[in-house]
Amino acid sequence: MSLPRSRQPRRLGTAFARTIPAVISLALLIAVWELYARFGGIAPTVLPAPSRVLQQAWENRAALAENTLPTIRATLAGFACSLVAAFVLSALVDFAPRLRRALFPILIASQTLPLVAIAPLVVLWFGFGLLPKILLVALVTFFPMMVALVEGYAATQKEIAEMLAAMGAGRWRIFRSARLPSALPYFFAGLRVSITYAVVGAIFAEYAGAAKGLGIYMLSAKNNFRPDLVLAAVTISSALTLMLFGLAVLIQHLAMPWERAGREDGQKSSTEGGR
């Protein structure tokens, strides 16, 4: 059996090729927007053209950067707290199933809270500092990871757990050696979902009240009739989310090399069968 190491560059190439349709459709969308904004007789205070957004973003780059940093800080701090909480609580729930019945109704209820209403309250209770942002980011990102982990533990192959027990492994050992690794694919699925909420959560929190941040920047830009600057901030927040998503995919890729081994094998046999 030859280990298919040499395929790495070509696979990267195909991944690149796969993004081409997305790039084309995005470019088309921007082009139509640009033309409509320029020749549609619409005031730039209502719908600015993409070129204007870009140009104004560049002119206001210092202010934008100054407001982007706190948002990144809140997002990362909130997400880190959420991640730790998801791991700790999911492990606790795994060891004490009764705790699951006690906790899950509360956690599910927490996901039904309308963020628009809850964000100002959290700011009211915890002030304009970092804490309410951390809490709100954690609130919106925690649940998908928690559910994914709990379901992932339960997906552990029964034979593996039984075999470990027959080897003399205790509960902690079985958790560490079998349940946790079994949950990894589920966890990363949950991570990819919740990371896309993280930046939005931070911006919501800032929108409700903050000294600096993309959220408060958007709010004041809107109040000053500057939709171009709102859209500039929106673009930055989208870029942040996409970067975090890419980071999550990269970490998954590095954390689960065996997944790649299985898939590469499958690809190899299918491509060779096709020739």
Binding site: E162, M163, M167, W258
Partner: protein, 257 residues
């Protein structure tokens, strides 16, 4: 010398009687099979031995009651139960790590055995890169390297295709001749039992009891010669008669309970 001895072992799950009165023994260096219809409770017997469930009756190892479960047996489950996230060498070394050995030391212990198990060169591979037969050899390696007193093999080749299974049975017979492990095999494959065993216990349908104890006095290796094949076929036919006769006379009345 008798190592494992079961006397009047019974097990019920609620009202469902699974094992009714199992008595058997396994001697030092002996390969014994437990042969029975599917769903007869064969795997429950192993769960009793490994301590996963508790039953009634007497279970002794070297004359000592089996309370200190798990330490006597190395268990090979039905499916290979390889961990996809561990490289082959770390799967093989898993039992040693659970026993408290450091990963590096455990690897050093199992690495020299890879050639004998036909796995040389695959130490660093992932289980997903191996064929079904190879995976099963890793599972057996993981089992024997634990250096326990006795092997418990629970239908180890049940999930393989017929050809691979036949090859693995021959391979296991060869391996056993070299090592003379004390082993207890669960199977519903009559040919497999006759090929591998010194003695065979035939179980009834649920609730399982021993309906026959059949010695297999064939010389080893058992894969050579037409005369040997004829003798083996005769024993197989006898066992099949016992099994089918017993299940036909009591058609699943145990299940209705």
């Amino acid at each position: 010398m008798t190592r494992l001895e079961l006397r009047d072992v019974r097990k019920s799950f609620g009202a469902l009687e699974v094992l009714a009165d199992i008595s058997l023994h396994v001697g030092e260096g002996e390969f014994v099979s437990i042969l029975g219809p599917s769903g007869a409770g064969k795997s429950t017997l192993f769960q009793l031995l490994t301590g996963a469930v508790r039953g009634e009756g007497e279970m002794r190892f070297d004359g000592v009651p089996l309370d200190d479960h798990g330490s006597r047996f190395a268990f090979m489950p039905q499916r290979d139960a390889l961990m996809p996230w561990r490289r082959v060498i770390d799967n093989a070394a898993l039992g040693l790590e659970v026993q408290g050995m450091r990963r590096r030391a455990a690897r050093e212990r199992v690495a020299p055995l890879f050639a004998e198990f036909g796995l040389a060169g695959f130490e660093r591979a992932w289980p997903a890169e191996l064929s079904g037969g190879m995976r099963q050899r890793v599972a057996l390696l993981r089992t024997v390297v634990q250096a326990r007193d006795m092997l418990l093999l629970d239908e180890p080749f049940g999930a393989l295709d017929a050809l691979t299974r036949a090859a693995m049975q021959r391979w296991l017979e060869g391996m056993w001749r070299g090592h003379r492990w004390t082993a207890l095999l669960i199977t519903h494959d009559v040919r497999e039992a006759v090929l591998l065993s010194d003695r065979i216990y035939v179980l009834s349908a649920r609730p399982a009891r021993v309906i026959s104890e059949i010695p297999v006095p064939l010389p080893r290796p058992r894969t050579e010669g037409a005369a040997l094949a004829r003798e083996a076929a005769a024993i197989e036919a006898g066992i099949l008669d016992t099994l089918l006769g017993a299940t036909n006379s009591r058609p699943f009345d145990g299940e209705a309970k």
